[in-house]
């Protein structure tokens, strides 16, 4: 029996037309939400880093510069669409899509609020995230490869190496949480935390690995080698301009949002929290994650390629594995 409720809780029912419309509406709403969040996270990044550097940050467009990023996005969208002469055209055009679609896709499993309106409550949420986000590597690599630019090529290869090697510890650190909660479903994980404590406390080791690997996965400072401005001039997207470049930027920040959501869900009880509505709790947790990332960005220098690789394989992975073993042992014993 179809009710209005089905519009939102379509996951548990066979697909029907209204359900499909609901899905579509949900996707569009999430897309817009993501855009909004990205725009204002960039705004916050500029302001926050600016304050730490004794600057004011954007302050011209709109009150307190609130529309600065909006203007920037508009600028990127209406810019001339340049495709350099000797690029591999097909791949060049495909790369931003390859990069962006997975970024957007992973948002579909992030439980933004208690009733997870608009998002899929699928059973393998955590696994889905890790699997889908790996696709972005292809976009980045193809972008670097097809640009027919040596800097972009180096940037693309670095990204591929970096993202692949940090994917592993990232996945491993998630497994610890999954073991504790006994489910891959993100809402299930939140529910499990509601009964006990936030997993950041028992899983502190996993949390540390997660944050480091997550930062590297998102190519953010100190792991921003793929687009190391002072070395590679801009990395894999050096030949991109206009809205294609905007897509790469968008990817980066959507992943920031997604990673923040994932972290809040896995380690900080997701939308759960007293007094305030669930979505607000979630927003607060993501905001803190953003701020932390920007703080790192303002402070740390860039790590070197070879050091970064050995850091992942020689330190993070063993740590993640140790965490996994400890979690398993404790779980069996207790």
């Amino acid at each position: 029996m179809w009710t209005w409720n089905n519009l939102w809780h379509w996951a548990g029912h066979p697909l029907s037309w209204p359900g499909f419309v609901g899905m579509l509406v949900g996707a569009v709403v999430i897309l817009l939400l993501a855009l909004l969040v990205v725009m204002y996270s960039i705004y916050w990044q500029r302001k926050f880093i600016g304050w730490m550097q004794w600057r004011i940050g954007p302050n011209r467009v709109g009150p307190w510069g609130l529309f600065q990023t909006v203007a920037d996005v508009l600028k990127l969208l209406v810019k001339e669409d340049v495709i350099p002469a000797n690029v591999d055209r097909t791949l060049f055009l495909l790369a931003p899509i390859f990069a962006f679609v997975p970024a957007f896709l992973v948002l579909s499993i992030i439980p933004f609020s208690a009733h997870h309106v608009f998002t899929a409550n699928i059973g393998i949420g955590a696994l889905f995230y890790v699997a889908i986000s790996a696709i972005t590597i292809h976009g980045v690599m193809l972008g670097g490869w097809s640009s027919n630019n040596k800097w972009a090529l180096i940037g693309g290869m670095r990204s591929a190496a970096q993202m692949l090697s940090y994917e592993v510890p990232l996945g491993m650190s998630i497994v610890g949480v999954v073991l504790m909660a006994g489910t891959l479903n993100l809402n299930g994980i939140i529910a499990a935390q509601m009964h006990t404590v936030w997993y950041v406390i028992p899983q502190i080791l996993g949390f540390i690995v997660f944050v480091i690997a997550g930062t590297a996965e998102m190519n953010r400072t100190p792991f921003d080698l793929p687009d190391a401005e002072s070395e590679l001039v801009g990395g894999y997207h050096v030949e991109y301009s206009g809205f294609r470049f905007a897509f790469f930027m968008l990817t980066e920040y959507v992943y920031l949002l997604a990673m923040g959501g994932l972290m809040a869900t896995l380690f900080f009880g997701g939308w759960a929290g007293p007094f305030l509505p669930g979505w607000l709790w979630f927003a607060i947790k993501i905001f803190i994650f953003f701020t932390f990332q920007f703080w790192l960005q303002a402070t740390l220098p860039r790590i070197r390629q070879d050091q970064m690789m050995s850091f992942s394989w020689k330190l993070l992975l063993p740590l993640a594995l140790a965490n996994l073993v400890i979690t398993a042992v404790v779980k069996v014993l207790v």
Partner: protein, 373 residues
């Protein structure tokens, strides 16, 4: 079988990469043609000359006082020292006696300029390594210095302040107090820099043991300044061949040992502290008096050849004057330390990863205006 072994399993190719002339980390219009295999540099060749303005040739048609503004444009981040180097060479040649106050003002401005230049090194080096905040902190302090210079001589970068026989202006009222306040403030800032950067593990890992060379290599390439002292070779012209009034102050020459990027970095930081020490003492000793010696209206250097070198920010900065007794130099040769320091680049870049390239280039701290003259 290790993957790095040369096997015919994987066909690899070397790639020729043009770094610059427009590249964010080449500190100006400098170009390096590097051959890379993977991420490893196997050959590097610096290409210079993009900023060549023919200063030496221009000087042949200029009176000595007209040459001074051109020296501003050599090492444009430490113009005071360039000014001084030229007027010092002329003064030596003419055997002029400089009033005390002028010498003190010169030393204060020169050391402040050295400080400003090292601040730029600190900021841009960290920017090369990917940290952007130290850059802004450093530039804010530098801004204070150049604002003071602005008040003193009317320009922020191209001072044209020194004159043969003294300095152009006496200090404005309250200027020395400003400097004093700045020195006090700067000492606190140095502590901040240490906390922010010097202890950072990522930074340490990037600079330790990178781009090292030996004293012999450095001497063989005619290097000087910090780039030579980082190998542990004690050579500072302010101590070795005291000029001006440097022998009146109590200060040390910081020395490195390994000759790597870390040593060069830390020597810059320590030299900043020594500069502060010198300025502090100079501020205490300075007395009122004239700032200009009696010099003929038209400066004529007696016929002959003269060389005088000073310890510039980047090494030995020397002016070699060939004079035929006229008011213009017959030939003016400038020993530009950045140019000599850069020569070692192909050797130390061999076999390092691309990421270290900017770390090494940045640590040598060349200024293209000086390299190309």
């Amino acid at each position: 079988m290790a993957l790095t072994d040369e096997t015919d399993l994987v066909r690899t190719e070397e790639m020729l990469l043009n770094v610059g002339p427009q590249h964010p980390s080449t500190h100006g219009v400098f170009r390096m043609v590097v051959k890379i295999s993977g991420e490893t540099i196997i050959e590097a060749e610096p290409v210079i000359g993009y900023l060549h303005r023919g200063t030496e040739k221009l000087a042949e048609n200029l009176q000595y006082s007209q040459c001074i503004p051109y020296t501003d444009r050599l090492d444009y981040v430490s113009a005071m020292l360039n000014n001084y180097s030229l007027v010092h060479a002329v003064e030596e040649a003419m055997g002029l006696e400089i009033p005390d106050r002028a010498e003190y003002i010169r030393v204060i401005t020169m050391e402040m300029n050295r400080l400003a230049s090292h601040l730029i090194f600190f900021g841009t080096y960290l920017l090369d390594l990917g940290a952007m905040t130290p850059f802004l902190y450093a530039f804010e302090e530098r801004e204070k210095i150049i604002d003071m210079f602005n008040e003193l001589c009317g320009a922020r970068i191209t001072y044209n302040y020194m004159r043969v026989g003294g300095v152009k202006f006496d200090t404005t009222p309250g200027w020395l107090e400003q400097v004093d306040a700045f020195v006090k403030r700067m000492k606190g800032e140095m502590v901040k820099y240490r906390q922010l950067v010097t202890g950072n593990e990522i930074f340490l890992a990037r600079v330790h043991g990178v781009g090292a060379y030996t004293t012999e290599q450095a001497l063989g390439h005619g290097m000087s300044g910090i780039n030579l002292r980082c190998t542990g070779y004690n050579w500072d012209l302010r101590k070795k061949k005291p000029y001006s009034i440097y022998d009146r102050f109590d200060w040390d020459v910081p020395l490195g040992s390994a000759g790597d990027c870390w040593d060069r970095y830390i020597l810059h930081m320590e030299e900043m502290e020594q500069s502060l020490r010198i300025v502090e003492q100079a501020l205490q000793q300075i007395q009122p008096g004239p700032v200009m010696a009696k010099v003929p209206k038209l400066i004529r250097v007696p016929a002959g050849e003269y060389y005088s070198g000073i310890e510039g920010t980047r090494g030995e900065l020397g002016f070699y004057i060939v004079s035929d007794g006229k008011d213009k130099p017959y030939r003016l040769k400038i020993r530009r330390p950045s140019f000599e320091n850069l020569q070692i680049l192909p050797i130390i870049l061999k076999g390092v990863p691309v990421a270290d390239m900017v770390a090494i280039l940045g640590s040598i701290d060349p200024v293209m205006g000086e390299v190309d003259a």
